[in-house]
Amino acid sequence: MAFITIKNLTKEFRYYKKQEGFRGSVKNMFKRKKLVKKAVNDISFEIQEGEFIGFIGPNGAGKTTTIKMLSGILTPTSGEISALGFTPSKRDPKYLSQIGVVLGQKNQINPDLPPAETFLLFKEIYGIPEKEFKRKLAELVKLLDVKDIVNVQARRLSLGQRMKCELIAALLHSPKILFLDEPTIGLDVTSQ
């Protein structure tokens, strides 16, 4: 039984184009030509337990869109996804508690507080037992070498430091599947 099975997955977005300049904007108020973009067009594949899969493609190829459908953020236009036996777009808590997501462009760590506070909130959200939480956190902090920064307001951290904390937040509950979208933004060579 495959961990993740994707069959004929398609996602369409509707959008429109605007002619340059102010005139174009005024015209746009009255008439818009609707265009449909197929961000993901009929893809199928399987992923087994223990595999590391990477998406490679130019900008706008649909890499992020696929990850967003796999993690339940977007609902596919057509096609099927089965992950750990669940349909992601139904967002069953039993599924969501087994996945970890890092979206490079979006922070889960609250910028106004030290990352350690966000970790504590995640402990409650994922219902991680105290002992397990402490062990896991100590392990990850050591691995990523962030001991000195977890108690500093996240706003004052560098991009790379923040990204390391994002990774910790996504791994605290020991997810079975980890979705990473541009997780290496700002990371130095040794961390990558």
Binding site: F13, L74, L96, Q108, N110, D112, E117, L121, Q153, E182
Partner: protein
């Protein structure tokens, strides 16, 4: 269920810690609330100084009504507005993503993210105004009425919450809807007055904008001045509005496009 309470507690704590990181801003917020309550009181004083009664509501009744309005407004500002009005920007900027991947109900998570503590003391002012109304009216109130009062305050809070959610969910259909929450503010103004509507207008308002009755029904229940049938409708509508908000939210999520990244 227990888990939900734990998360709610942790979120509230975090929200307060966040505010306290910015000390000056935190203190200023309290000042702002104090100013707000002061001007509201002044407004009541001026209005009530000129009008002795509205419909069959005499002066002390009106004082109780205004006190109730202050209580409900404080609940709205402390718990509802600070959370629900952010839906629009979460959707527009795509930050909703991080709520959606959590193994808890997304509507719950979004509705309990923040507590706007500085607005909470206004509740105390509200209660004080209600008590003052009772003193000058020399009223005695049976315990049952107090229970009904609390129940209908809860109904009003639910209705205001649901309406704010529904208005914010318009963002799922159109791409920008920043000004929609303003509608709540303009409609809410009418809640400062008793039921001065007659005939079918009452029932149209009841279905279209039950917020109009958000202080009248609780205050009326407390004073024994509300028609039982009308109060019952109000209660049913509060439950219905919660269901509508839920359906709108769920359907909105299906259309969610996320953004960037």
């Amino acid at each position: 269920m227990n888990k939900y309470f734990k998360v709610m507690y942790a979120s509230a704590k975090m929200s307060l810690m966040r505010e306290m990181e910015y000390r000056a801003d935190f203190v200023m917020f309290f000042l702002q609330t104090a100013t707000f309550v002061f001007f509201n009181l002044l407004f009541y004083k001026v209005i009530l100084g000129n009008i002795n009664s509205m419909g069959d509501w005499n002066y002390p009744d009106m004082v109780v009504l205004f006190g109730t309005y202050t209580i409900i407004d404080s609940i709205f500002m402390t718990f509802v507005l600070t959370n629900v009005s952010r839906i629009e920007s979460y959707v527009r900027k795509g930050t909703l993503d991080s709520f959606l991947v959590k193994p808890l109900d997304s509507q719950f998570l979004i509705s309990t993210q923040n507590v706007n503590l500085p607005q909470l003391p206004a509740i105390v002012f509200g209660v004080a105004i209600v008590c003052y109304g009772f003193r000058i009216g020399h009223y005695n109130i049976p315990t049952l009425n107090v229970l009904l009062y609390l129940l209908f305050i809860l109904s009003s809070a639910v209705i205001i919450y649901a309406m704010t959610v529904v208005l914010n969910c318009v963002i799922f259909v159109i791409d920008k809807a920043e000004e929609l929450t303003e509608i709540i503010f303009s409609v809410k103004q009418f809640a400062k007055f008793p039921d001065i509507y007659s005939g079918y207008i009452r029932y149209v308002l009841m279905f279209m904008a039950p917020i109009v009755f958000s202080s009248f029904v609780p205050a009326g229940a407390l004073l024994g001045k509300v028609n039982t049938k009308f109060a019952l409708y109000y209660f049913i509508i509060s439950i219905l509005s919660l269901v509508v908000a839920r359906v709108v939210w769920k359907n909105g999520l299906k259309r969610y496009k996320s953004a960037g990244g």
